[in-house]
């Protein structure tokens, strides 16, 4: 259900934009945050808030891979399969993850922990192949580094651990890789602040509030 409090926040978001329709994306983020995924009521609530028809909102929801209309696992792994990542071997990574997690792409593991998805371009072609875990970028992924990441996710037990301890790290040339994951590494601490800002920009509004 879309509560009154959410409605108020929707209206507040709409009021920030000169044209109400411009508020569609942030409104959808809000609705998705509230319900975990975008429900038909969510679409209607957003449509009413911005004065559009529900089918237009639906169209936008399906366009962006950052919105989902189905309940997802707590940890959403998106592997980019667009051309640059394809050429750099995303298929191997994807196949490996499928095997490792025991689910096929588009599916959610039975314990509700992992959802594996193939995504269209994540705008990280420069460091292909790229993948995202709950909105956080990992680049230059290999099957090994993907394994390491899953190991970490399994051991961490919760995605909350990811957001606090797991930061993308830079190798000094603007490259963030998963292979260098060592939360205790002082280099990590050093670049963290700068990287967080970068990543947020990169995420193009992916849900991190």
């Amino acid at each position: 259900m879309i509560g009154e409090e959410v409605q108020v926040r929707l209206r507040e978001i709409v009021s920030r934009y000169p044209s109400a329709r411009s508020a569609m994306l942030p409104c959808l983020h809000l609705v998705q945050e509230e319900q975990g995924y975008i429900t038909p009521e969510g679409i209607i609530a957003v449509a009413e808030a911005i004065g559009a028809k529900p089918d237009e909102v639906e169209s936008v929801v399906t366009f962006y891979s950052m919105y989902t209309e189905e309940p997802k696992g707590r940890c959403v792994i998106k592997v980019c399969t667009s051309i640059a990542c394809y050429l750099r071997g995303c298929d191997d990574v994807l196949a490996h993850l499928e095997q490792r997690l025991g689910i096929r792409k588009g599916e959610t593991s039975s314990d509700g922990r992992f959802t594996l998805e193939a995504a269209e371009c994540l705008a990280a072609c420069g460091m292909a192949p790229a993948m995202q875990v709950n909105g956080r970028f990992f680049e230059n992924v290999t099957t090994e580094s993907a394994d390491t990441l899953v190991d970490y996710l399994v051991s961490a037990g919760d995605t909350a651990a990811l957001t606090s301890a797991w930061q993308p790290v830079s190798d000094g040339r603007g490259m963030a890789t998963v292979s260098r994951l060592d939360a205790a590494n002082p280099a990590v601490e050093a670049v963290e602040a700068a990287d967080t800002a970068d990543t947020t920009a990169q995420q193009n509004g992916a849900h991190e509030r």
């Binding site: 038909p40 679409i43 028809k53 529900p54 089918d55 237009e56 639906e58 169209s59 399906t62 366009f63 962006y64 667009s82 269209e120 371009c121």
Partner: protein, 776 residues
């Protein structure tokens, strides 16, 4: 518009063309008859540039440009057949065909498919793609009438843009992105728009197809006849598509002043009228209380003999005729001629709205502006009229006006589909349109909000009118009608300050209990607020049926001759017909049904459908009831003689639509065996009566109309051309192409001056609802 614009001259393929600035290259090339293939572009929608099909080479540009999004600039040199252009077209087509299933043999679009045609003309011979094509489940129904085959879609977004920008209805949207992009509808929200058929027509491939047309034919098997749709009073131009004497669909035939190339679903797919197995195929005669089949000869002789019998025992005034709002102008003309000249009675009428009596040479009760003029209006007020269901293509034009910024007010008893887009809505109780209009007029007079020359020159008359309305103020009338008085007053103010307001009401709203003064009040409202006599300002009724206006024009009225001539002015007509005409007004529709006549001749009408039990008893008690009909209607079931007629697709003639455009209807198929066109039946009856009519075809009747009906003077089939002409056209004059020239709106205003407030407004107050519910 009127100002001379600087033209831009460009060169396309070595030929020069001058076009106004802002013209798209595609349009400029079209003027030179140079084809640039397009998928996503549609001349009635904003350019998008999605399909990359319309590449042309512009000198000085390193890469090919899309002709549908590039506007002309002075001295541009464009090539549409250079090697670069050919290569890019081939490339685009090869890409489009990668995922296209090539099931052309079973595709309903095959044969009229742009992808087929352009591939043949501009495409590559083969493909380098040797992997699997993308496949989806074959057609999914996006509505009751439209099927979507996603694998055929080339994502040009024409349909989507039509739904969003033209129809502005819930409908098709693009879903997903990239490789997975597809057209779709929102879950649980079927595409239930009355305009849905247009996306089927504008889809350049077979992705959207019609359920009713599914697999019934291929385009090359169709016999396509340019005609006019007869499903409502808009009169959209169509191609009637017939295969083996069966109408399969109507296809749009663009007429920019009426339909802009769009049709409603009713016009497009409702073929039941002509294809129905229930059609009458033989004349029926009542013998021993039951209708039995008879020959045409028997039936016509019986009609003539019984008509003569009634005339000799009860006199000619005991015979009456009820004409049709569906038949052609020619048939309506012949019908009243049969009654007036043949049988000697003015008892002729049809089912129509209630309009006050007309002045001599006054303006008839018509829509004074045009459909195209709606786009110029700053305000449109719809009084008791549901255009979405009754005149869908007018509704579509209103939507276009809304997009251009026109403020639309929907003043109706029931919610309508336009509400969501309207600037305001006012609801009232069923049947109170007259009271609401009077409330608006009253508000304009009392504030006062009158303006313009018309009102100032007639200050005394206006004052008199104001006094006479003093007892029925806006608040009292609004309370009586169940409407919001404040909203009505606000609307009156908007109308009075509008740059140009169009006030439209439904013809049938004038038949409501308070409707008697509706037409007159709305006209006065328009005149006193200076919303009249120019494009984008005006008023009038939206007619009920395809030829409702034509029936009036042709004199299916007890008190007026064809062309709204007064009975007293009938000398010329009488002389031409070689008869003396009855000079007293005849009985009207209700009087005839109330038992005023002993014999009733009904052509293409069904009075029993909305008759009271007493009227039904009267119908059954008649000495003679002749009915010309397609089906065994309630009236036909009570008839003495039933004569099977044919639908508009099976005969020639002309229709006059609600904005006065006279257009040619052409025979698209053979008549149903056993049935005859109404004009043939009327001639048969006339000749059985010994009148010796010698019309060989509707053309000869039209020629007679052109000679004898002042309003239609000079009309000719050739002059009407492909798109028809709106009256008034000047008498006898024609331009170089033989098309009668139009007299512009000043003429209309002039006739209006003769007619308006001075005529009707100062007279005795017509019956009106007094405050608190007393009916006057």
């Amino acid at each position: 518009m009127g100002e001379q614009q600087e033209l831009v001259t460009i060169t396309i393929d070595g030929r020069e063309v001058s076009v106004p600035p802002g013209t798209l290259l595609w349009e400029a090339a079209r003027q030179l008859d140079i084809e640039i293939p397009i998928y996503c572009y549609h001349p009635k929608m904003d350019p998008l540039g999605a399909c990359r099909m319309c590449f042309v080479e512009v000198k000085g540009m390193p890469k090919p440009m899309t002709a549908c999004t590039t506007t002309v600039t002075p001295n541009m040199v464009v090539s549409t057949d250079s090697p670069m252009v050919k290569k890019s077209r081939r490339g685009t087509l090869e890409f489009l065909l990668i995922n296209h299933p090539l099931d052309c043999p079973i595709c309903d679009k095959g044969g009229e498919c742009d992808l087929q045609d352009f591939t043949l003309r501009h495409g590559p011979g083969g493909t380098r793609f040797d992997l699997y094509k993308r496949h989806y489940v074959k057609p999914i129904a996006v509505s009751d009438r439209v099927l979507l085959d996603r694998e055929r879609c080339i994502a040009c977004q024409r349909c989507v843009r039509f739904c969003q920008d033209v129809a502005m209805e819930n409908g098709l949207v693009m879903m997903e992105r990239g490789f997975k992009t597809e057209v779709g509808v929102e879950e649980d929200a079927p595409f239930d728009s009355i305009f849905s058929g247009n996306v089927v027509e504008m889809c350049p491939v077979g992705a959207l197809t019609a359920k009713s047309y599914r697999f019934v034919t291929r385009p090359w098997e169709l016999k396509r006849t340019a005609s006019v749709c007869g499903q409502c009073s808009v009169g959209c131009n169509v191609l009637v598509d017939v295969r083996v004497n069966k109408v399969l669909r109507q296809y749009s035939r663009t007429n920019d002043s009426i339909d802009e190339g769009f049709l409603c679903d009713r016009g497009r797919w409702n073929t039941e009228l002509v294809n129905s197995p229930q059609r009458l195929r033989t004349p029926l005669i009542r013998r021993n209380g039951a209708l039995e089949p008879a020959t045409w000869e028997e039936a016509l002789q019986l009609v003539a003999q019984r008509l003569r019998a009634v005339a000799s025992t009860h006199g000619a005034s005991a015979i009456g005729g009820i004409g049709s709002t569906h038949t052609t102008n020619e048939e309506a003309y012949l019908f009243q001629k049969l009654l007036r000249a043949g049988l000697g009675t003015n008892n002729v009428d049809h089912f129509h709205g209630r309009f006050p009596a007309m002045e001599r040479n006054g303006l008839p009760w018509v829509w004074t502006d045009s459909i195209a003029g709606l786009e110029k209006a700053s305000h449109i007020v719809l009084l008791g009229t549901d255009t979405y269901n009754r005149q869908p293509i007018v509704d579509l034009r209103i939507r276009r006006a809304i997009r251009k910024g026109t403020r639309v007010y929907v003043v109706t008893p029931e919610p309508s589909r336009l509400d969501r887009l309207a600037a305001g809505t006012i609801r009232y109780n069923e049947g109170q349109t007259g009271a609401v209009s009077r409330a608006l007029l009253s508000a304009v007079l009392s504030e006062p909000l009158t303006r313009g020359d018309f009102a100032t020159k007639r200050a005394a008359s206006v004052a008199a009118l104001r006094d006479s309305l003093a007892h029925t103020n806006t608040e009292a009338l609004a309370a009586f009608a169940g409407a919001d008085a404040t909203a009505l007053r606000a609307l009156a103010r908007e109308i009075a300050q509008a740059d140009g307001a169009v006030l439209l009401y439904d013809e049938m709203a004038t038949r409501e209990s308070t409707g008697e003064t509706l037409a007159q009040d709305v006209l006065q409202l328009a005149l006193l607020t200076d919303n009249f006599g120019r494009p984008g300002a005006g008023t009038g009724p939206l007619m009920e049926d395809n030829n409702s206006l034509g029936a009036r024009d042709m004199g299916l009225l007890p008190d007026q001759l064809p062309g709204y001539r007064m009975l007293a002015d009938g000398a010329a007509l009488a002389q031409a017909w070689g008869m003396t005409l009855p000079d007293t007004a005849g009985m009207d529709y209700d009087a005839m049904l109330a038992g005023g006549v002993r014999a009733l001749y009904v052509m293409g009408a069904d009075p029993a459908r909305h008759a009271t039990p007493e009227q039904l008893a009267q119908l059954e008690a008649l000495d003679l009831l002749v009915v010309q009909e397609l089906f065994l209607t309630e009236t036909a079931k009570r008839a003495t003689v039933v004569l099977p007629a044919v639908a508009y697709m099976e005969k020639d003639g002309t229709f006059t639509n609600t904005e006065r455009a006279v257009q040619v209807v052409r025979r698209a198929m053979q008549e149903l065996p056993g049935a005859r066109a109404d004009w043939q039946i009327l001639i048969g009856v006339a000749n059985a009566l010994g009148l010796g009519w010698r019309y060989g075809s509707p053309l000869e009747v039209l020629a007679e109309i052109g000679r004898l009906v002042p309003l239609y003077a000079g009309i000719s089939r050739r002059g009407l051309g492909a798109e028809g002409v709106r009256w008034p056209f000047s008498a006898g004059e024609s331009d170089a192409t033989g098309k009668p020239t139009l007299v512009g709106s000043p003429h209309l205003t002039w006739t209006m001056v003769e007619h308006g407030v001075t005529g009707n407004g100062d007279g005795a107050e017509p019956a009106l609802p007094r405050a608190h519910g007393e009916q006057g």
